[in-house]
Assembly symmetry: C2
Amino acid sequence: MQSREIRLKSRPVGMPTNDDFEVATVDVPDPGDGEVTVQNVCMSVDPYMRGRMYDRKSYVPPFQIGEALTGGAVGKIVASSNPDFPEGAHVLNMNGWREAFNSNGDGLQLLGDLKAPASAYLGAIGMPGMTAYVGLLEVGALAEGETVFVSGAAGAVGSIVGQIAKIKGCRVVGSAGSADKIAWLKELGFDHAFDYHDGDLVAHIREGAPDGVDVYFDNVGGDHLQAAIHCMRPFGRIPLCGAISMYNATEPVPGPNNLTMAIGLGLTLRGFIVSHFNHLAEQFRADMEGWVTSGQVQYKETTYDGVEKAPEAFIGLFTGANTGKMIVNLTS
Amino acid sequence: MQSREIRLKSRPVGMPTNDDFEVATVDVPDPGDGEVTVQNVCMSVDPYMRGRMYDRKSYVPPFQIGEALTGGAVGKIVASSNPDFPEGAHVLNMNGWREAFNSNGDGLQLLGDLKAPASAYLGAIGMPGMTAYVGLLEVGALAEGETVFVSGAAGAVGSIVGQIAKIKGCRVVGSAGSADKIAWLKELGFDHAFDYHDGDLVAHIREGAPDGVDVYFDNVGGDHLQAAIHCMRPFGRIPLCGAISMYNATEPVPGPNNLTMAIGLGLTLRGFIVSHFNHLAEQFRADMEGWVTSGQVQYKETTYDGVEKAPEAFIGLFTGANTGKMIVNLTS
């Protein structure tokens, strides 16, 4: 069979454009002994991928020009010469940005019985959901009755952060970038949600959290982080999860000018990525599948159809095109 | 008796000057029933006091114009109508910046048998020493064999940080502001010490810590913090203790422009003040008196004589006039 894939054509400068990507078609032969052929059902685009488009050392190596991009995907085994991976089984894999591929099984994770649509395993029950879960509960050490502020609250991670905080009996304030997103956050049970385009961030946060913020879950960086520091309660925690406001910056962006407030208040700012907490994967999946199937955690997806739309979906992450998880469907 | 005291005459703008302070003389009557008269032997000037000279909410209330300043001091009971405080006893108190005062005993802490000169209880065995101790061991969670970088390393806190790290079997790199200070740090056993005026901070840190830094103890903020972040190892810790480079700034100073590196590296930046760890005071004193009397921890003092010299001593903290602890002797 053949597979279309998306390759990095040039390293984006500032905001990525469609011209930084190209579509190519490759042959996927019948699987050899011990191999399987995986047809991807859907793939993920995530903000962290922007960092891999720079040619620099980071926690994941950079993407290479002329090579297919990679990322999370859910696929189905369509041909198998490997008894561990029977035909028809769903597998989580890191070979997104392409329709199909062969594998000897390394890097494939059997999903077992799906308790939700396949795409949920790229979102609420997948990497973004687990990022929210470990960031809030482990890094943020959230305690019952505390007040949480989350930026990028209508995103794949932020929307889960807010809902977990509500399950844990907390007050939740969120920021997002449109009236529709704010309305959805209120449906999800957020106590206060505001559009960060309108007015002063500190005033908005204080309105939602008049007694201050115990945990600020930072998806945005920049102005949001600085404003949140102004509003923290003593011994508050700030999980640093992402800084989407800065990923396309072409010059270094100054950090918060009020970091010295952390001294007297005893604040903790702690960066993390989800793979630092892989030991919690089973516990996360059990909790989150329970919350999703019971309706305690809801999720939304913004979907694009066809691998050729993946660059557009990816760019949309930085323009606010998504509410909830951005998904590219590859086969129906 | 009479006591000279230093009052805040005007709130400093930028670097404080002698004109921001004034000397006044007050009467100290014989102690009333339950009271004692304390004559201060020596007093402390500390960088954190600069923050109290601004009229703003902080973790300690601001100093008031026309009133005597306050701060750590060691005094001797010279008259007593309070059986808890016999004449001749040494007491730690927060009524520095004056020669003598009366007290009903609140806020006086009996020092018992002194194992070192009185001034050491304002330095290595006092608040700065305990700041180093809790910051490095509790906030920084230092483990044996790790690499520590400390800025302001020839100061009252920094010099103790480095020596505790050596006791704990760690590699230690320090920055300071003169050749004399660097020479002293090497005497203290620092593995590498450099003058931050010369050349590139990142290059200096990398020279001393080619495999990266596990704990950066930040006394300085600004460029030092940014450079240290560039050099941190995965899961490194950054106790935020002070930001002396920024205390006299008249405009907000941008924070580090590389804070997003904390995400992939899993770095923790945690602010603290020593009083968050008062529960460790006894353990600290026992450990530190042991290290000081055995010679494992050495300290230096820069001393001024006479309460009228206290403003000059205080200003000297920001011009690098001190090696080790800055002390003002009030009676010999």
